[in-house]
Symmetry: C2
Subunit: 330 residues, 2 copies
């Protein structure tokens, strides 16, 4: 096992990024800022322009995170032939379309062409490693490394081993993402949507219901979240929160006093909305009211700045996490 107490990027001189979309560009920017050479493989003719424009867009956030962005593109290259692209790399992070057959084809080529020591990870949010690796000679080498978008900013990476992924691969992936300044979390079981997207999806379902029912507008609901549960869950997750909300007896006391009532009265009453025409019309109209005054790009940049402010306060920016031993987070 390669697991070390303080993982470094030393073993990762060169990375292949397969697929230069939003996720691929974000990974590329983060790797380049951390001094790793990046070769981008993407069949699109205008991929160089797209990636360079994307890097320009995320450079301010990388700089805000305390990473050097002076000459990001110095270590960047492009290679349209997949086998050539992955020859000589130390890690492959694949961000192709979410289609099983296409991913299998990509990974069969990578398996043959990449060095035997290369770490092989897919950013997929929906396809289990087991399904992709079924097409490989050495399924133990492939692991899911699913970032929470965008990877250069949000700390979480869900590391999801397939049935045949080796423990060594899992540990190497964990170390690699840790060295990149991310917060990898290894899941114990493959589950559609993994964890973060399932949780997000469960909550969003109720959000859509409450807006469709006219209880609140989108903007009002967002304000409720940022001023209560969002604020809470940024420093303590749901279990810790309810452990602390249960009195001196902690979570077991919470379950007895409030959890059983939640199961009986609240869970069956949760909404089952649908994106029917009326709901979509309401959601669209309110989104325009709430967010229509500025471009998505400008709003995203504003949100990212606030995000970094918060991460800095919690000592969770990459420059802090590299050295901090007394983070503010509970």
């Amino acid at each position: 096992m390669n697991h070390t107490p303080t993982p470094t990027l030393a073993p990762y001189r060169r990375a292949a990024i397969i697929g230069g979309g939003v996720i691929g560009v974000s990974w590329a920017g983060l790797l380049l800022a951390r001094g790793v050479e990046v070769v981008v493989n993407d069949p699109r003719e205008d991929i160089e322009d797209l990636v360079r424009a994307g890097l320009d867009e995320i450079a301010p956030a990388l700089a805000d995170l305390g990473l050097p962005t002076g000459n990001l593109a110095a270590g960047l290259s492009f290679e349209a032939d997949l086998a050539t692209a992955v020859a000589g790399v130390d890690v492959v992070q694949e961000n192709g379309p979410e289609r099983l057959e296409l991913k299998r084809e990509i990974w069969r080529t990578v398996e043959d062409a990449a060095p035997a020591h290369a770490l092989l990870a897919t950013s997929t949010s929906s396809i289990p490693a087991t399904a992709i690796a079924a097409a490989l000679r050495r399924p133990e080498r492939l692991v899911v490394g699913h970032p929470f978008n965008p990877p250069h900013l949000v700390p979480l990476v869900e590391v999801v081993p397939g049935e045949k992924t080796s423990e060594e691969t899992v540990e190497r992936a964990r170390d690699f993402y840790t060295a990149l300044g991310k917060k990898p979390q290894v899941l114990r079981k493959e589950m559609p949507g993994f964890v973060a997207n399932r949780l997000q999806s469960a909550m969003f379902r109720e959000c859509v219901y409450l807006v469709a029912q006219g209880v609140v507008t989108e903007q009002e609901l967002d304000e409720i979240v940022t001023s209560s549960i969002g604020l809470r869950w940024a420093v303590a997750g749901p279990f810790r929160t309810f452990h602390l909300g249960g009195g001196p007896g902690g979570l077991p006391q919470f379950i007895e006093h409030l959890g059983r009532g939640m199961e009986r009265d609240m869970w069956p009453a949760l909404g089952r909305p649908s994106f029917d025409d009326a709901t979509v019309a309401t959601l669209t109209e309110q989104a325009d009211d709430a967010f229509g005054g500025a471009s998505v790009g400008d709003l995203a940049a504003e949100r990212d700045r606030a995000q970094i402010t918060l991460m800095r306060a919690l000592r969770e920016t990459p420059d802090d996490t590299a050295t901090a031993t007394d983070g503010a987070r509970a």
Copy 2:
């Protein structure tokens, strides 16, 4: 209407806090720190000791929030007779047990004994104002002011009018909580659990499921949340997040490209766990592993400090919100 652009606490010289439990003490501490006299009404014989001990416990957090706590108890008094307690107050915040008949009895007494100008609010998390006010001569005076626990720390107060609550009462409640440094949000419709608890409950259901299924432990799930959706939702709520995650087309584009897949594949697959013996045993054992090393009180104090660090970074502590015009939050 009493609604003013910058509401102040000037009209609120004296408050009655009915019920001196955790919520009542938290309201009392916040009011006292903001210079409002507080009379606590609670039938328990040892209520004075309980409240004073509770105030000592939250004083450090109030001080961290930038509020004066030098002589909190100077404005504090106790009155076991409800009618006497509410005579001469400017606002009543009731935090009694969640039993409809008891609340009706309390509020009938308050309605007769409190001054005609007093703002009347109940902290209830589960009983609609309409149901309580049905017992009152002037139902237009009562409104729900449901804090997210603990009220002295978490900004949200859900202001939920009953069918007969007057607009004037709603506006006065909004102004009162704003002047207290809270972030009141007026709901447009009564709904069991209001909004924040419904959302929390929807997400927690999936949390329990994923732990019961062995996909992650409680601690791992908490870390996933704090390093992804919690961090996100502290600065931008779910609708804004998906508006920004949908590409240049915003939320409508998100719904078409990802929302419909979420409805089709994810929502029906969400878990339906139950607090059966096996699940409770798992949750209890993991809570002990994750949180058992320290007392609930110490962990809560640590969490509250992290919370205040985050609020200060976002300029959302009471001293900041009173003056800031350029908050960092998106």
